[in-house]
Amino acid sequence: MKPRLLLLVPTSTYRAEAFIRAAQRLPIDLSIASESPNSLSHLHPVDLPTFDFTSPADAAARAYALAKTHPVHAVVAVDDQATLAAAVISEALGLAHNPAHAVRAALDKYRARERMRAVGIAQPDYRLVSFDGYVDAAQSLSYPAVVKPLAMAASRGVVRVDNASQFVDAFARVASLVSSNASHLDESARSHLLVEAYVPGWEVAVEGLVVKGRARVFAVFDKPDPLEGPYFPETMYVTPSRLGDATVDRIVRLTAEAVHAVGLTHGPFHVEMRGDGDRLLPIEVHARSIGGLCSRVVRFADGRSLEDVILADALGLLGELPALDARAAGVWMMQSPRRGRFESMRGVASACEVPGIEEVIVAARPGQVLEPLPEGFLYTGFVFARAQTPDAVEHALRTAFARLSPVIVGADNPA
């Protein structure tokens, strides 16, 4: 009997295809659970079950019933929306996984900060501010500060404010955003925002895997564009980092400390970190791998993808963690520049001709309504590059991006 993998795939993911391709390369049976029914679930209930990820206990009960007739050997969540359900299901099935309390902390920026502070990891000043107390809080805060939802990804709802007036406006705006997306949030996350001191300096993203209890970093990505606010759009990731060996060593060590402080014991992690002079501060710790379609930038020397490695690790088939492909690589995440209805992307063929560009993917669909940050949550596209040096990758990405032009119409009243 082949081992069975239970893959939790939120229907909003960019990564269903990448994980399915990886699963098909393994000698396994696969069940793919989503929070909304697949239109063919009734024909293939074991292959395509439906689990409510917002109710992990209910998901665990359904997984337990499925596993009675089709034993499950590993559970993997594709995105943040399903990581807690994966932890609770794994616990119910007696499978090795991150503990649920650690995943809860990784999903909540305030809880993560509390855990890191508890073990002495330096943090910016931070506090939890409630939706009904922010006007009073405005006068007692230090500025510049950053307002953040407790549980949103990709810089959504993250706003820098430089004074009390900006704070009040930004808080109301982000609170409204959270309230309109609150159905899956717990009480704290739906009624509070995190407010923390703005940390100037550069930012990196760190990708890795907890293997046998040890946090192993395999890529440190520079974010070459300055992220100074008022919003913090993710644009470019380039690896390997050009910060120098000593700094990268410190980033790797601090990443491991942060991952362990949050309590993650298994599987992928994604950490964001800021640095300024000698100061190095973890910004976020996630119990999942890099988001969007960005995982395509991670390729291992033996040809495996990030999803291949994540699934092999979960099933106990990984062996040694493979080395990363020796070439530099990078991705440009294209954000919507303004509100409106996406029609098309101009310049794709020209962008693909830039030396070093591997692929341009138009992610937005014709007719989709786009919004820029801080409310926006759709990427218009992704550009991928690979070259001998990080400088060459960055140059290729900038050149390609300059040739791309999204056609967005109806900015005044897109709905």
């Binding site: 229907t11 960019y14 697949n38 239109s39 992610a363 949550f377």
Partner: protein, 210 residues
């Protein structure tokens, strides 16, 4: 691995050249182009060894550890591996299997050829599955699956409506549509999605970073 070429001598003084080209997009797949037809004018897909029906080529290929499926199409043989896709190790063994198949005279057995449905019959039965089972279900998501063509036993599909550009279409294709068609028409070979998903205007599930 870059492209690899093998030259083999066959009985009666014939020689054959086989070029192995690993897929850039799907590293688990490698296509072997042969200098003479392997299955002249025909195509057959083998999802496991049981479908071989004593075909020398297919038996030899499935004897190689990790081979998951085989698609033979006129003068090409596409092989998919599970596990470690180490083509530097596996490509010479696949080349030798193709050589053995050609040396046997008929790489694909007569029994396989006789089992292939007439394309018209395949089309009729696949269309029936789409009409009676699949499309009534995907219509609940505003979707539709169209049968574009059947070439030998390879089925070409196109997704429309809510399926076109849907973030979950790969799940629906592989674990819904494909399984349903194979359950009902086991003789079909490869099932190909020819849809331009980037042009989908109304995907049922749209990817986002929500």
């Amino acid at each position: 691995m870059d492209e690899l070429t093998f030259n083999f001598e066959l009985p009666e003084g014939r020689s054959v050249r086989i070029t192995a080209t690993p897929s850039m997009m799907h590293p688990e797949q490698c296509t072997f182009t042969v200098s003479e037809p392997v299955y002249p004018g025909r195509s057959a897909y083998f999802g496991d060894r049981d479908q071989s029906r004593e075909s020398v080529l297919v038996d030899r290929l499935f004897a190689i550890e990790g081979v998951a499926d085989v698609l033979v199409n006129h003068d090409t043989v596409r092989v998919t591996l599970v596990g470690d896709a180490n083509w530097e190790d596996k490509a010479p063994r696949v080349g030798a299997a193709i050589r053995d198949g050609l040396a046997a005279g008929a790489p694909i057995s007569q029994a396989v050829t006789e089992s292939l449905l007439d394309p018209q019959e395949t089309r009729r039965r696949v269309q029936q599955v789409l009409d009676t089972v699949i499309n009534p279900a995907v219509a609940s998501h505003g979707g539709v699956v169209r049968l574009l063509d059947v070439a030998n036993n390879t089925v070409f599909l196109e997704f429309g409506g809510g399926c076109q550009g849907c973030g979950m279409v790969s799940v629906t294709l592989k674990y819904g549509v494909e399984r349903t068609i194979r359950d009902e028409v086991p003789e079909v070979g490869a099932i190909m999605d020819t849809t331009d998903h980037a042009a989908g205007r109304n995907p049922y599930y749209a990817p986002s970073s929500k």
